[in-house]
Amino acid sequence: MIAFFFRKFDRMATGFVILLAAIAILVPVLNLAVPEGSPFHIPTYLVSLWGKYLAFALLAVALDLVWGYCGILSLGHGAFFALGGYAMGMYLMRQIGTRGVYADPVLPDFMVFLNWKELPFTWYFFDHFAYAVVMVVLVPSVLALVFGWFAFRSRVTGVYLSIITQALTYALLLAFFRNDMGFGGNNGLTDFKDILGLSVQAPTTRAALFALTAVFLALGFLVARAIVVSRFGQVLAAIRDAESRTRFLGYRVESYKLLVFVVSAAMAGIAGALYVPQVGIINPSEFAPSNSIEAVIWVAVGGRGTLVGAALGAVLVNFAKTWLTGMLPEFWLYGLGALFILVTLFLPKGIIGALTSRFGRPGDGGAQ
């Protein structure tokens, strides 16, 4: 089983996993054990910020798995991310209990505010962490399964698929804005207090969440990698290159697509669940189509079809975003827009793609 995950490991993959392991240990240590005055101290806000980047990186890896390796450009992956986030948010909401403004032991504040008397069934059991964790994976997967089943079976491909994935997340955006959906409407879920009995504000919790995100990113990467280097991954690439030819070879293209789409959605859901406790809020704007498209550019910047590149792209672009919006807020959109244009025109293989072709090293795709 272990061998399954480390099949055909190359230098880049090894380096990436070691890097993640290192920061998973080092960053919490530098944050908690090193005194604040020291130049090596990492402040807690940075820990959470970088934790957020890593969650995005996991989303990017999930997206790269379907786009880079199977040619499914999903413009709705933000929906899976947000659904995972909402599942985690619902757990965190129910942990608030009587500490809310209205001090209702069961109902979250916004429900009391809306004058609801009973917990909607969608919220049942979310006070159990294990249930929430299952939902984090299950809800996005089931949505991906149902959606993908319809879409792939009827052979919706290319831009048509992109457009309907975008419509999907748009529909969810509209739905979650509604108060009567019972997910906090406009304001979403926030004011979280603790997770598994630990305060979400406490530096130790934040450091732990960071480490956990790094670990999940590494796991996600390993799973994705194991998939793409397997024969399955080869079939995916074949589908990407000549879908109908693959069919005539006897491969049931839709089940391949469906499986990888569901795995990817589950991964995106986990990313969302890791994201929410670190930023402290989840609201419908996470469903905005523009978010999903932004995630696509992370992958494109880093280099699609490389997995490592996707993660790298997510971190780089978000770092640039934080930095630019801090310095020149109105320039962020120019920067992002220019990034979209320049990368597609001049860097079609992204950073990693450009680097590997420069130094003549094959990427870590199926080919060897």
């Binding site: 024969r231 080869q234 074949a238 030819r245 006897g250 049931r252 499986l259």
Partner: protein, 250 residues
């Protein structure tokens, strides 16, 4: 007729297909026996490729019967299951997986389980490697085994597609214009290859190159406007008045 059916690998009866009112196939009926080599000729637009589309499940016939291996009704199956029954196809326009190496393309085509889960956890066996080496030798692309398929020349792509077809080890091979873009020597080689695999597999070849068809030395069916115009040996067909009129020219 029923003897026909049980002896046949492919049995078409009164198949019609139309596109927006245009009849591409019109009551097309013919039978291919097990292990038979059959050449199909006919002018452009006669419906040869469309016939293959119908057999492989790409196009659904408006009416008619298509039976494979004496008992399997193909009109209700999708491409993947038809391929799984043992029908392989080479396209008129060579289509290979641009991003895969020659070797991996053959590996993908190789007979074996096709389900997503088996692909996820299985890996190439030694037998598979041997088979691939075998096929590489047949199509003489051994030197190019780790080259990307997308970077091959037109003729090399034709050979790769033939190799993939062989790797599939199907009961019936449908080969659409295999020698377009090949040299004369290669054309002869292809004819030799196809005749050699016939017997074990049934082969249906569509081709305009009459010397190639002659080299195949098999029964010939001439299609015209979606139905069979003449059928028989190459000599009888090419002597047929109507075939000369519509296809061969005087």
């Amino acid at each position: 007729m029923s003897a026909d059916l049980t002896d046949s690998i492919l049995y078409l009866d009164a198949v019609s297909v139309s596109f927006d009112g245009f009849r591409a196939l019109h009551d097309l009926s013919f039978v291919v026996g097990r292990g038979e080599l059959r050449a199909i000729i006919g002018p452009n637009g006669a419906g040869k490729t469309t016939m293959m589309d119908v057999v492989t499940g790409k196009t659904r016939p408006d009416k008619g019967i298509v039976i494979f291996d004496g008992s399997i009704d193909l009109t209700t199956r999708d491409e993947a299951s038809i391929a799984a029954f043992g029908i392989g196809r080479k396209f008129q326009k060579p289509t290979v997986f641009d991003g895969q190496t020659v070797e991996d393309s053959l590996l993908l085509a190789l007979e074996g389980p096709r389900s997503a889960f088996s692909a996820l956890f299985g890996w190439r066996s030694r037998v598979a490697v041997e088979q691939i080496i075998d096929k590489l030798a047949i199509i003489r692309l051994g030197d190019l085994r780790s080259k990307l398929a997308g970077s091959l020349s037109h003729g090399q792509k034709q050979w790769l597609e033939i190799g993939m077809l062989l790797a599939q080890n199907p009961k019936l091979l449908l080969v659409d214009e295999p020698v377009a873009g090949m040299t004369d020597a290669e054309t002869e080689e292809t004819a030799r290859l196809l005749t050699s695999i016939a017997g074990e597999h049934a082969v249906v070849v569509v081709e305009h190159d009459m010397s190639f068809v002659r080299a195949l030395g098999c029964k010939v069916t001439c299609l015209h406007e979606g139905s069979v115009l003449a059928e028989g040996t190459i000599d009888s067909v090419s002597a047929n008045e109507r075939v000369i009129d519509v296809y061969l020219g005087r």
